[in-house]
Assembly symmetry: C2
Homo-oligomer: 408 residues x 2
């Protein structure tokens, strides 16, 4: 069973997809900010959206669109530089206008286009610029523009995030491609996470929805953490069947789902490691919980604790803060049963706490782990067999700099 | 009714109380780190403790002590520089040893002394240094050492926090005094908050417990936010009756409770404004909620959002982040009913959002508010009449610096 990862692949690697990215003047920087992703035929489609009760206009419009049309989608229009969030009725009208403009330039009906926006919240979308951008972008659609599209959706990202995977199914080879952007906070306040995943396999809309939800939970939702999402977070999955291979039997479904999981996980890890000001990526593994929800609560509290994250930034094995975060997670636990390990890669981890009490570990060994750019923290609650894994980052000066001055 | 605030007052301003502060070598800096607060007669006492499930040894010992003796307390032994948290059975033995050493030097039984610790977590308490400190401190007890005691409990605090209030009760004048320390994060991860409040009024232990709980909820718990407390957080209230005035009628109780509220609030505000790296103190006022719990959830989410707090640091009126935090609070709400105002002091506030949509406010006016060292953010959910107020701070480079290198 071949299974090939194409690190220079993108959302246009699957057959039948093309893209365009232009600078429409929405970003003050003058960098590309208007992106089209287009399929030469109708796609089945699914989306995973923010759970934030303050949802941006494009999220509201996409939810409504997919509710009535999830099997004849032709493309996605994305702007960066403005989130079209907290913009009221005019914002909704602008999101719908993006659909209409796309259909005018690319053919089909407005409800065959999905929309995404990312950038500053609460500022009216400069719809005239979006219109000009779509006009300029449409003629330049090309399968070669997949990476340019990944660049065009960036905000505070420092590098584009894209990937493709080719897999051999019983019926033939299919390709999955994707791109993502994230302000990379990996945080309850994570600025917008956007992702577009495409495939030339033929997959029913229902299967797409199920598989995307699962893949997102193990990837994007394990970095954005427990539904604490921005106003705009959206992952879209489009399948156009251009490869002539159907995913309609159990084996194909499993292989396809695995590849989708892998693609989403890889994109999510690119988002984490490009997080704002990030110098370390930390895997938070919570085991021994009564329920997965308990494990998740503890992991989430650790992963979002400013005191823990600043200790990561300083490379300081201040493990007491990890236990303190565990204790305030709201999960009922017995501190005398807590255990803590830290470790790097496949090396045997260093046990720091046993039965709630520090072991006689060597401080320098702990410091050596926290000095790495990537390491794992495992907390065992000693209370069951449920577990979870989240990925988080350190909290650095650069994070403060980026976010204190984001709008200016 | 006289009611006098003594800004140079402290925990030793009420009659019968004395204090001592010495450098016992627990802090690497060599600054004072061992403090005694002593009453010349038995006190009724109450405590409010962290809700963290990982509770430090002194918290466990104080809870147990007050459960069997809340009417014959003689004093408090406090060390800074080491939290005696996550230290297992040896930690508990050390906390009890602090009680025993105090009783040996100051008289009475071990269970007549309460203990507090603040500092690094997970490092064994250097009990020999604590012992030496108690030996040196005991002979120097004096009513003049109240401010020195407030200095001796500091960790990353930049200034001591102390205050006294004199009030006229029907039965005569009584004095309340207090000191506090906080790493001042005003955050779920707030490093330890300690407070000692004393009074020369005679108050029953039951009344003390009720009044302290109420006062803490409106002050320390409105900055430490929703029970998300450190392993060590403790507020103690001791009443020795040395002034010969009893608080045992409704009017006295009300006047005394008001003064206690005011004292705790003033100490809490000192903690906020001395928060780590803090340059702005922000009042978060949530109104129009269905329940107070909803209001608190929204306020808590806003008050702890790194994106909101970095925007405060940058003086950037990035109000969209406030609405985004509101939306992800987990409270069911209708974004089209949200309203937002910002304002300074008693000036009429500037309305930024009405019906979920930005007003035509002038950007420069919003920037002028966010440039202030103290301002108020009010979010109205348009859904009821419950409300709450919390106090928070900005998140600055200095916060990262202090916390990335706290142990080193």
């Amino acid at each position: 069973m071949t299974h090939q990862i194409l690190s220079d692949g993108s959302a246009t690697t699957p057959r039948g997809f093309s893209a365009a990215a232009v600078a429409a003047g929405i970003k003050q920087s003058g960098r590309p900010d208007l992106v089209l992703v287009f399929s030469d035929r109708d796609c089945t489609a699914a989306g995973v959206f923010t759970r934030n009760r303050v949802a941006a206009a494009p999220v509201i419009v996409d939810r409504a669109t997919l509710a009535t049309n999830n099997s004849a989608i032709r493309g996605v229009v994305i702007n960066s530089g403005n989130a079209n969030a907290c913009t009221g009725e005019p914002g909704l009208a602008n999101a719908r206008e993006m659909q209409r403009l796309a259909s005018e330039e690319l053919g089909g009906r407005p409800d065959q286009y999905l929309v995404m926006s990312t950038g500053v919240i609460g500022v009216p979308l400069p719809i005239e610029r979006v219109r000009s951008g779509i006009l300029i972008a449409a003629p330049s659609l090309s399968p070669d523009n997949g990476i340019a599209a990944a660049e065009g959706i960036m905000t505070t990202d420092t590098r584009p995030k894209h990937l493709a995977i080719e897999i051999q199914l019983p019926g033939g080879t299919v390709t999955l491609g994707g791109m993502a952007k994230g302000a990379g906070m990996i945080h309850p306040d994570m600025a917008t996470l956007l992702g577009v995943v495409t495939t030339d396999a033929a997959v029913s809309a229902d299967d797409l929805a199920t598989m995307l939800r699962e893949a997102a939970d193990r990837s994007f939702n394990a970095i954005s953490i427990d539904g604490d999402t921005s106003t705009n977070d959206t992952i879209l999955l489009l399948a156009n069947g251009a490869g002539g291979v159907s995913v309609n039997d159990a084996e194909s479904r499993e292989l396809f789902a695995n590849a989708l999981n892998e693609l989403c996980h890889a994109l999510a890890m690119m988002v984490v490691s490009d997080g704002e000001g990030v110098t370390r990526v930390v895997t938070v593994h919570v085991t021994g919980a009564r329920t997965e929800s308990d494990a998740r609560r503890v992991a989430n509290t650790i992963a979002t604790s400013p005191l823990v994250k600043t200790a990561f930034a300083g490379g300081d094995p201040n493990w007491g803060r990890i236990l303190a975060a565990t204790g305030r997670s709201g999960v009922d636990l017995d501190q005398s049963r807590l255990a803590l390990w830290i470790g790097v890669g496949d090396e045997p981890p260093l046990q720091i706490v046993r039965d709630g009490t520090p072991t006689n570990f060597v401080e320098a060994d702990a410091a050596a782990v926290f000095a790495q750019p990537a390491f794992t923290v495992r907390v065992d609650l000693g209370d069951g067999s449920a577990e979870t894994v989240l990925w988080t980052t350190d909290l650095t000066h650069d994070y403060v700099t980026i976010n204190a001055d984001y709008r200016t």
